[in-house]
Symmetry: C2
Subunit: 306 residues, 2 copies
């Protein structure tokens, strides 16, 4: 292993937005690294091969594992158990297995069951776009974004440190967290926002009183901000909600309570309650921009070109 | 009135984001136009004067009306009645009065009561950013965006045509609509999305189990998309919800019904129902991007700079 290169050969299982972005980012950060890829979908394999983002793209998942010292499962949360079972017989000795699932506690259980004795350092890069597939990935996706590691209790500290180094090397900021806490934090910062966005976009598009054409036409009034999240991969998100059901329902319950309070204020004409609430939420955005997790460009800079 | 310039002298009452953007856009589109401005807040007047965005900025609202053939009220919806009463004694003969409020039926009533006999052509440009104040405005804010006119029943067609020409000239696409219909359409495309965003951001920032610091840190998982809307002007939005109470409550009711359905699906582990819903919402975004009301740049192009 060369200086500063935490792994010599990385195998990526699943070559969608995240898997293909890791491939591109690793290639850019670690020029000598060997990258193997696999995808259950032959069409995705062919497209990834055409893009040239990995060195080897065997049709057999076992062949992709050969010699890999890091294997990252980049498949929907609901497919993790099957992917882990498929790689189990083929892992090189000492290989570390990681994943990029958005729910960590249930995935950890699935990986442990399928991979007894294997060093597990699950990860969740808090980065993404609404696009899917190997063409959608790009090398800078993780730059400046957080990647949360939730190492198994029995994972050696050295293994966690190597996975952390891998993510730092491709531009991410790394944090180590307990899997259960991860799931609650992400329920609030990611899962509930997606559920709300999916709901809102669906609601607006099937109102009887307002046509879908009107909704699209006048979407710049606010609605369009929800549509990016609501355009995210349906399979991925179905799995996240099923896997992190408890965390999502807990935060949803709080949201519904708050929404009922604002609904009462509107019904009662209580302008003061509305003003107070709306004043507090402004500060949060300033903090997010300050932390570099968003841009302050007005309208995200999406004013149409001249 | 020169060729292609629908008004010779425009008076803008309220010099926040929208008023100051109209001033800049009109200056750019109609070089010879005379622009008068007024703001109840002396500090805003001073800042607008320093920016040089209008020709005249009298401390007396009556002086700003002198000779204006178009007066546009750019104040929060709840301040429209007072603004209309303040300009009433000073309007030049034949002046057309418009506004930019986000709720139209209640504003139309307030304007009619305060301005009997005056030609009223209310407008709502579907454009904005989360920033406020005269510094936040820019000349291209309305470019490619829709502006909905809701002329009073007794407004001459010629007056509506002139106001339409004014907005077209500064880059907007113009539509004429009944005020009540406007309020329902905007409840779906703008008011409810803002209410939901305000709620979501408030909820996430006062959870006991998750700290505000964590919410900010991991906001790129989806939460940050809500924060732009939730950073919008509190006074403006308080007034919108109070003014368009019925439209907002009607659409909110549908949203809550849909959300309850998805909650049941999560609780029951009904992945098929979730997948079906999430698949439908993707198409809406493609249509919005196709219509030029959003950009297809992944992540709105807000990946951090290299």
């Amino acid at each position: 292993m060369s200086e500063g290169v935490p792994f010599a050969r990385v195998a990526l299982v699943g070559l969608g937005l995240i898997g293909s972005s890791i491939a591109r980012a690793a290639r850019a950060a670690y020029p000598g690294i060997a990258l193997a890829g696999f995808d259950l979908d032959a069409d995705v394999r062919a497209r990834a091969a055409a893009l040239g983002i990995v060195d080897a793209l065997p049709a057999d998942i076992g062949d992709a594992m050969a010699g890999a010292d890091l294997v990252i499962l980049c498949v929907p949360v609901g497919a993790m158990a099957a992917a882990a079972a498929a790689i189990a017989p083929h892992l090189a000795a000492g290989a570390i297995v990681s994943d990029v699932g958005s729910a960590k506690a249930p995935v950890a259980e699935a990986l442990r069951a399928a991979l007894p004795g294997v060093t597990l350092v699950p990860a969740h890069p808090i980065a993404g776009t609404e696009n899917s597939g190997p063409e959608a990935g790009f090398a800078t996706l993780f730059r400046g974004r957080w990647c949360i590691l939730t190492p198994a209790a029995d994972a050696p500290g050295e293994a966690t440190a190597r996975v952390a180094a891998f993510w730092s090397g491709i531009g991410a900021k790394v944090e180590v967290m307990d899997a259960a806490r991860h799931d609650l934090v992400l329920a609030a910062t990611s899962h509930l926002p997606h559920l709300i966005a999916f709901t809102m976009v669906g609601t607006a598009s099937h109102l009887e009183a307002v046509t879908e054409g009107e909704v699209i036409k006048y979407s710049a009034g606010g609605f369009r901000d929800f549509t990016r999240l609501a355009a995210s991969d349906p399979t991925m998100w179905r799995d996240v909600f099923l896997a992190n059901r408890e965390g999502v329902l807990e935060v949803l319950d709080r949201f519904l309570g708050d929404l009922a309070g604002l609904e009462r204020a509107i019904r009662a004409g209580d302008g003061e309650a509305l003003f107070d609430w709306f004043s507090r939420t402004r500060a949060i955005r300033r903090a997010i921009v300050y932390e570099g997790q968003d841009t302050a460009a007005p309208d995200f800079g999406r004013a149409p070109a001249a």
